[in-house]
């Protein structure tokens, strides 16, 4: 503990002894994205209010997952609060590894959490993680380039339109790619994107008996479409582009369109970082003509308390603070409304201050358009839009997305990749005892 923290703790202690509660030191594992870093900067507000101090373990997303999963599965108890996603929460909740959050205080107003988020972070109706921010995905496009191409973006475009527009906007000489999309291997990167693309072409991961579906024509159509479009209008080397890489490209004015997380909207419209901040329009994610599912996902970074922690009460206090309406106000005060953590609470979207933010409505519409319990046209035995909420999925989808990335890099054909994906998925499902 540093001297400064010790000092805080000491002052906090004197404050709190009056009210009878015990000041705790919470260890919180979190991911190194912008909103979480911002929260770390505001932690003093929490300490002032409750007397508890906080120590952050900030890790890059992949390292964080590996770290918290090991710790919770082995019951290591290294962390009092873990930052986890919509994928982990229902699985861990079902295992009894997380503390139920159904008993949060009345002023916290859990009913205010967007229903889609709440459903995605619950198991059997019990909330196991509180959303810090939520996201879907949508199209971000350059209004100036769209105009130059003589086209107009519909509210809800189809893939066919997107492909045509991308080709029209592409200008290789001035280094402008019509469309930038994720191709990077990893289930949460390119794996997530190709899964929702599959959904919007009528494909699915598994049939009702957990048989892999990569041998079906819908997958071939989706993957072929994706590869052809990126060939025509995508950036070079898109096989290694994930969220960050595409964000950089878009901010530098090198993309006509980008379909990705709704949280990116605040980054691309921030004039400090983005060279195209005033020329960005938004639209709902596309679907293939005649398919009643859009290529948008549903995700939340959420805070959960591992079962067995000694500091459950203090941990819940922190969660109430970090995911409260007050915290949103606090960020708005310090950083402006465009930078508040989005996508978690209904009341945020009813707030006139936030409604003035250009991407607020499209974000909400995108979130509402995603249905984790009904992600594909054909019936599926799983929950989750861009993932399948079973423990084996992360491993399988990472390997599948690696096969797909090899296609994007021109190292194998669509058919080869699909055949390998089919084999390895069935193999892993067999190993796990599904088939």
């Amino acid at each position: 503990m540093s001297f400064k923290q010790a000092l805080y703790a000491a002052t906090a202690m004197t404050l709190v002894t009056a009210s009878g509660a015990l000041a705790e030191n919470l260890v919180i594992a979190t991911v190194n994205n912008g909103d979480m870093i911002r929260m770390q900067g505001l932690t003093q507000d929490f300490t002032d209010k409750t007397g508890h101090t906080v120590e952050w373990v900030t890790l890059e997303e992949n390292v964080l997952r590996q770290r918290v999963t090991t710790d919770i599965a082995a019951k290591g108890g290294s962390f009092d609060i873990m930052t986890i996603g919509m994928y982990e929460t229902p699985i861990w909740g079902a295992n009894g590894w997380l503390v139920s959050l159904d008993d949060l205080s009345a002023e916290y107003d859990a009913d205010d959490i967007l229903p889609a988020m709440r459903a995605g972070l619950s198991h059997d109706g019990t909330l196991y993680a509180a959303p810090f921010y939520g996201e879907s995905s949508m199209i971000m496009y350059r209004t100036d380039l769209m105009e130059k191409a003589g086209l107009e973006m519909p509210e809800a475009p189809t893939w066919q339109f997107i492909r045509e527009a991308a080709a029209a906007m592409t200008d290789r000489d001035s280094d402008i790619n019509g469309i930038c999309l994720r191709g990077k291997a990893g289930w949460g990167e390119g794996g997530a994107f190709i899964t929702v693309t599959g959904n919007s072409f009528g494909a699915r991961w598994f049939d009702e008996d957990w048989n892999a579906q990569f041998d079906q024509p819908e997958w071939k159509e989706a993957l072929t479409f994706f590869v052809d479009m990126m060939q025509e209008s995508g950036p070079t080397g898109y096989a290694t582009n994930g969220f960050n890489e595409n964000l950089n490209l878009f901010q530098q004015g090198k993309c006509g369109m980008w379909i990705d997380a709704t949280v990116a909207a605040s980054f691309v419209t921030n004039p400090d970082d983005s060279t195209v901040a005033d020329k960005v329009g938004f639209a709902l994610a596309p679907n293939s003509e005649g398919v009643d599912r859009k290529a948008n996902w549903l995700w939340a970074w959420a805070l959960a308390v591992p079962a067995g922690t000694q500091k459950e009460a203090a941990a819940k206090e922190f969660i109430e603070w970090a995911t409260s309406k007050d915290y949103i106000e606090l960020v708005a005060e310090n950083e402006g409304w465009a930078n508040v953590p989005p996508g978690a609470r209904t009341s945020l979207y009813e707030n006139p201050n936030y409604q003035a933010v250009p991407f607020a409505q499209k974000t909400l519409d995108s979130i509402l358009a995603a249905d984790p319990t009904n992600p594909t046209v054909k019936p599926v035995p799983y929950v989750g839009v861009q993932f399948v909420a079973i423990p084996e999925f992360a491993g399988i989808a990472t390997e599948v997305s690696q096969e797909f990335s090899a296609v994007y890099a021109g190292q194998q054909t669509v058919d080869e990749a699909l055949a390998k994906a089919q084999a390895l998925t069935n193999d892993a499902m067999e190993a796990a005892g599904y088939r």
Binding site: G186, P391, G395, A409
Partner: protein
């Protein structure tokens, strides 16, 4: 002559190191062996009972297995080849009279101090990034299309990064060896009119064989285990999944400890095959 007294004392003195290492080897090894015969899935309740050789069969029958062995050997072999060849050339160069030899030596050994994670991050972002990387700038400057290094040339890229980290090690050992080379012998050969290549082949190279052995042996041990460089750059995509990385995927990404443990046993077998192979070829050189 060692006395009986000193022999027993010697055993006593060796005991702590041997016992500790024995423990460090046996405890994990036995646990790995036990897990490898079990269905052990931490996310599904942990130990689900014995499954015989299922994990072993499944691990090798996976389509990822043989490519991972090939990738491992390619990376190890590639790095060894590059570091030894460039290391020898560099050692010869650094052994020549010049100004500022000490400073040059500092420059050359610097990469050895860099954490693997940091070096992978720096190479990936600041050099190999196809848009903002320095290589991309360079390529564009010469009017060429930038290369997406980590997808189009994934294995060579990783070999490059790892070679950069290990070149100082090889160079320094070889340099020390060259410095001890008998100058008169070389001069005599020169007088006799032996061309430089011949002098190198008949005098320098044999002299270096022992140093090369050390380089190959030590590097192989470390190279078989490289992980951070792959985790940070490609995440195992584009044919860079080594055996170590495949085990990581099985244990941590798929959370299948039994399957990963079986992989661990295979990795030990592979490491020992490589070790025996090395000993056979170069082991003689190791005798002091």
């Amino acid at each position: 002559m060692a006395t009986k007294h000193s022999r027993s004392a010697a055993r006593l003195m060796m005991a702590p190191a041997v016992i500790l290492l024995l423990g460090w080897m046996l405890v994990p090894l036995i646990m790995t062996l036990i897990f490898s015969f079990k269905q052990y899935l931490p996310l599904r309740g942990g130990d689900l009972g014995w499954v015989g050789f299922d994990n072993y069969v499944r691990f090798v029958s996976s389509s990822a297995f043989w490519p991972s062995v090939v990738a491992t050997l390619t990376i190890v072999g590639g790095v060894l080849l590059i570091t030894v060849i460039i290391g020898v050339l560099l050692a010869i160069l650094l052994n020549q009279p010049m100004w500022g030899q000490g400073v040059v030596r500092i420059l050359v050994i610097a990469p050895f101090f860099v954490m693997p994670t940091v070096s992978a991050l720096v190479w990936k972002n600041m050099f190999m990034d196809p848009v903002n990387g320095l290589f991309a700038h360079l390529w564009r400057f010469f009017g060429a299309e930038p290369i997406a290094w980590l997808s189009e040339a994934s294995l060579p890229s990783i070999v490059l990064i790892v070679s950069w980290q290990w070149l100082p090690f090889a160079t320094l050992i070889l340099l020390t060896a060259i410095q001890s080379l008998d100058g008169e012998q070389l001069e005599a050969a020169e007088m006799d009119g032996a061309p430089p290549l011949k002098r190198f082949g008949y005098i320098t190279l044999p002299h270096l064989s022992r140093a090369i052995t050390i380089v190959v042996l030590i590097q192989t041990i470390f190279l078989l285990a490289i992980f951070a460089e792959i985790f940070v750059t490609t995440g195992g995509a584009f044919g860079t999944r080594t055996l170590t990385y495949l085990i990581f995927q099985r244990v941590l990404e798929s959370q299948n400890v039994g399957l990963g443990s079986a992989g661990g046993v295979y990795a030990i077998i592979l490491a020992n095959i490589v070790a025996i192979f090395l000993m056979r070829i170069v082991g003689k050189n190791l005798d002091a």
